[in-house]
Amino acid sequence: MGDIPRGNRPLSPHLQVYRLPISAVTSILNRATGHAMLAGVLLLVWWLVAAVTSERAFLTADWVLRSWFGFIVLVGSLWSLWFHFLAGIRHFFYDAGHMLEIDQGQKTSWAIIWGSVILTVISLLLFFFG
């Protein structure tokens, strides 16, 4: 194999050298949403700990939680949770050997994207008007 030029080749071609079909986008988003949700978890855990700490601590945490900043973090985490939920369910099918064709991957990708938006809107409607 001495005739193959081995210098200056990327060791492991990654995100920057591939086109991103929709199935790649949802795969990346699955990892991204899984990590992004941590923001909402930390905010809620801080709020719970503050509730058992003192009135003052609770008022501070509650104020942040219900501010526009808290709203953005919680709604972002809510969408992330539903996206990760649906993408995780797709992984159950992948693991069982189903939905692995390219066209199926594209369809389920769009289903995850729109499904996560719809579930987020339903959750918010239930929260504010339920």
């Binding site: 990892r31 949700m37 978890v41 719970l48 609770f58 995780g88 693991d95």
Partner: protein, 130 residues
């Protein structure tokens, strides 16, 4: 004559490594199913709790269902999070950086679990004492 066989190049890597990959994947799968069941319940519990005054929050999480659902979601969720970050760490980091990242990811995950567990336990136990 080379005494080192090609096995030398493979040992310690991939499936020839510490051989915990299958268990790691299975752990993520099992926690995924648990979290998929818990997700709607957790969102409904949090939806009921957010907006309550402090006394209301303390009383709400002193009930068995909200306390158990929240504890399960946060404990299993953070455990799943630690296992998930491990996937990302293995993809992007190597050597000492990988080890440091794994250690701090584990420490961080258990710290969040401890904080959430403490807050929920205190709310539940205070209600019994009162």
């Amino acid at each position: 004559m080379r005494y080192i066989t090609p096995l030398k190049a493979a040992k310690g890597l991939g499936a020839a490594g510490p051989s915990t990959g299958t268990l790691h994947h299975w752990t993520l799968t099992v926690t995924s199913v648990g979290l998929a069941i818990l997700t709607p319940a957790f969102l409904l519990v949090m939806g009921s709790a957010i907006g309550l005054p402090r006394a209301g929050v303390l009383a709400y999480f002193s009930q068995p269902y909200p306390a158990i659902v929240t504890a399960l979601f946060l404990i299993v969720g953070m455990y799943h999070f630690v296992k998930g970050t491990r996937n990302m760490i293995d993809d992007y980091l190597d050597g000492t950086e990988r080890k440091v990242a794994i250690i701090f990811s584990e420490i961080f995950g258990w710290a969040v679990i401890a904080a959430a567990g403490y807050a929920l336990a205190r709310m539940a136990l205070t209600a019994i004492i009162l």
